[in-house]
Symmetry: C2
Subunit: 420 residues, 2 copies
């Protein structure tokens, strides 16, 4: 029978093998006394199995509270598997199995889900991203370079018409993609529908005049019926992207939106820090992005090199690499690079990931360019041309005037790294 | 204008007031360069406000990675508020605002949402729990004592007919409530519908014969259409409770189930440890249970005194107290006490919470009672009678023979505490 497997990074004051068996027991048969009816055959069929244990370092202090006072805490990598017979092709119950009560076990002073693997048969049960990288490129007609995008700022406060005016400026500047902030869905002075009307009027006129249709990700996050109504509204207005805050809407709601299938879904991961910032608690992005690709999102946030948040460049690079690895023979997702980006990070991003299949988002980097937003968009495209050529930031700044001005204005914030 | 407020426990290596202002800025206007269009009037209307700062201890090591190398890390309690104009009555966007990107700010080496307060106007926009404590008591006809419940074990593996046989034993033993494990929704040998058929046949026959209808919480967790189909199936079979894994199904999906309004919703919080186990990351149960009561769940897990997990008794008591405090003038929710309970914890649970408005779940404590399951249920009822009288475990064991046998078998695992 096919099996689903999960890899955990754990810490325990107890014997690692015994702790691993507690995990497997709790997440399959699980009770503290023997029960009649639990036959050996039944256990064999439905029991979770510890497939491998790799011992790592031993430390003297526990990572998490709950089992203090021991001399040593052992860290290890565990691989555990379950039969598909336990839950079928049901993602919420699969997650309850892989990420449920086990975080509360006293046996563990640290537990993080690092990766998961599902059998090929999942491909027949999940449609995955309906658009993915190819679909997003077709809709924006952008090939051979990252999609260049921006977020409407201030995050919250602009009236619908003000947003539309900004979008007009950005469209005329040549941008490929614009999105609502995750804090903005429907505000007192910017009702969702009013914003769609105002913004799509600008985008549709611009598309009629120039042939270039800017992709705008409207944040339709909310209760289910609200989201479905908004989705219909987007379709009728000719919009080409729906944004959802995946952690706050939750799996069942996001999947229902993805399953509508008519618009790429932009997955915003706000709240993600809560799930991953501790090295021994929660879930790693490698596992996280697999779950959401099975749900069917087309674009997913990965932060950016030298971002304004806590995350290291190494972690961002690993996230982009994770998104690029095929899942179930495809399930392509477009990584969304954002947070403090202005083009100066393009050479390093390309050097480390060797891909242009990105949605590259810059905020102030575009709107605050010394020569205006058009020059800001041009500078970003130049930054990526230079990046693909293998040029350093300094080389690109000398060759491209608009990018050069970006470097003058924003370069001080960058820890410049030589690419040679 | 009405405001929503949130209380955080934070840690920062920087000036606390400055860090608090970064949080407020990031979660309202939020960008790293000034933008035209962001007027003072607009900022005033939509800006988050730091309402209060209470300085706590200073420590020398950061709780979370991301800002190492400072000498001191300051801890504080912050209260921050937002206008309802920012997001209206939209829970996912409210959560993105209160619990979004702020966990990733380098300014914080620790951040936990401890509590939140919404204005009274929320009562008009959310129906809350449709059944709550009163409704669950009416359906089970249990008054003046906790509902006594159990979980089908093994968690996964029993065939539908085996589950039904167990339920027959439990019903005859006088149990009030039975539930699926969160690992069990539809398994290869226990399809959801087959289990409903088999179990409800037993429950309905028992109700016809005795007038007592056991409440069985069937785990309908899954994708949205699956859950709605299963919900209908439950209604037609005469079931009286639907169970949902709230973290894995997610807010929009769970709310859609609650909004059906015909069955109490049993909220299982598996995965909760990931969200709260670190003292300076995630969300405290006080805030968490408010969110889910607004979503409309009728029963929510709170762990139990002297549980088998990492959580302290103090924390469990605080959770029960949080559930008992009225929200928006009502929004009653029934706390589900479980994990390693067998009746021996009843005196301490009552002494510390002074309530019998509980769903008190015991597993092995019922099925593995030396005189059989009927005696197990009787022993639990006795434990609660004794608890309300203010008796100690020892006093109760002397007076009640069935409870006395429970103490003989399970008492060794209990850290007995005098209640006098």
């Amino acid at each position: 029978m096919e099996r689903i497997s999960a890899t955990y990074f754990i810490e325990t004051p107890f014997d690692v093998e015994k702790a691993a068996n507690v995990l497997a027991g709790e997440q399959s048969s699980g009770t503290f006394v023997a029960i009649p009816g639990e036959t050996d055959e039944l256990k064999e069929r439905f029991a979770a199995k510890v497939e491998s244990i790799e011992l790592l370092e031993t430390v003297s202090q526990p990572a998490l509270p709950g089992a203090e006072g021991y001399d040593e805490y052992h860290r290890a990598k565990l691989n555990v598997s379950w039969s598909v017979e336990n839950f079928g092709y049901n993602l919420p119950v699969m997650i309850s199995t892989l990420q449920g009560n086990l975080y509360e076990l006293t046996q563990f002073t640290g537990l993080k889900l690092m990766d998961l693997d599902v059998p090929d048969s999942f491909a027949a049960h999940f449609a995955g991203p309906r658009f993915g990288i190819k679909g997003c490129r077709q809709l924006t007609q952008v090939y051979d370079r990252p999609l260049i995008g921006t977020i409407i700022k201030p995050s919250i406060g602009l009236a619908a018409e003000q947003t539309a005016t900004l979008v007009k400026t950005l469209a005329e500047a040549g941008i490929d993609f614009v999105k609502d902030d995750e804090l903005m869905s429907s505000a007192a002075n910017s009702a969702f529908e009013a914003r769609v009307d105002a913004v799509m009027d600008v985008i549709n006129r611009h598309a009629d005049a120039t042939g270039k249709k800017v992709m705008y990700a409207f944040n339709l996050s909310g209760e289910l019926d609200v989201m479905l109504r908004r989705y219909e509204y987007l379709l009728q207005a000719g919009a080409t992207c729906a944004m959802v805050s995946i952690n706050t809407v939750g799996l069942a709601g996001v999947k229902k939106i993805c399953d509508q299938g008519a618009l790429p879904v932009h997955a915003h991961r706000n709240g993600w820090g809560m799930l991953t910032r501790h090295p021994l608690l929660g879930i790693d992005f490698v596992a996280y992005q697999k779950l959401w690709r099975m749900v069917g999102v087309d674009q997913i946030h990965v932060n950016g090199i030298q971002n304004k948040f806590w995350e290291s460049d190494d972690s961002v690079v690993r996230s982009i690499e994770a998104c690029r690895r095929p899942l179930l023979g495809g399930f392509e997702v477009l990584p969304v690079v954002s947070s403090g980006q202005w083009g100066g990070q393009a050479p390093e991003t390309y050097r480390r990931t060797q891909t242009v299949d990105l949605l590259y988002m810059a905020g102030g980097g575009i709107m605050a360019h010394p020569s205006g937003p058009s020059a800001g968009v041009v500078a970003l495209k130049q930054a990526w041309e230079a990046a693909v050529k293998g040029w350093s930031v300094e080389e690109a700044a000398q060759f491209y005037p608009e990018f050069g001005k970006s470097v003058e204005k924003f370069g001080k914030s960058l820890k410049l790294q030589s690419v040679s």
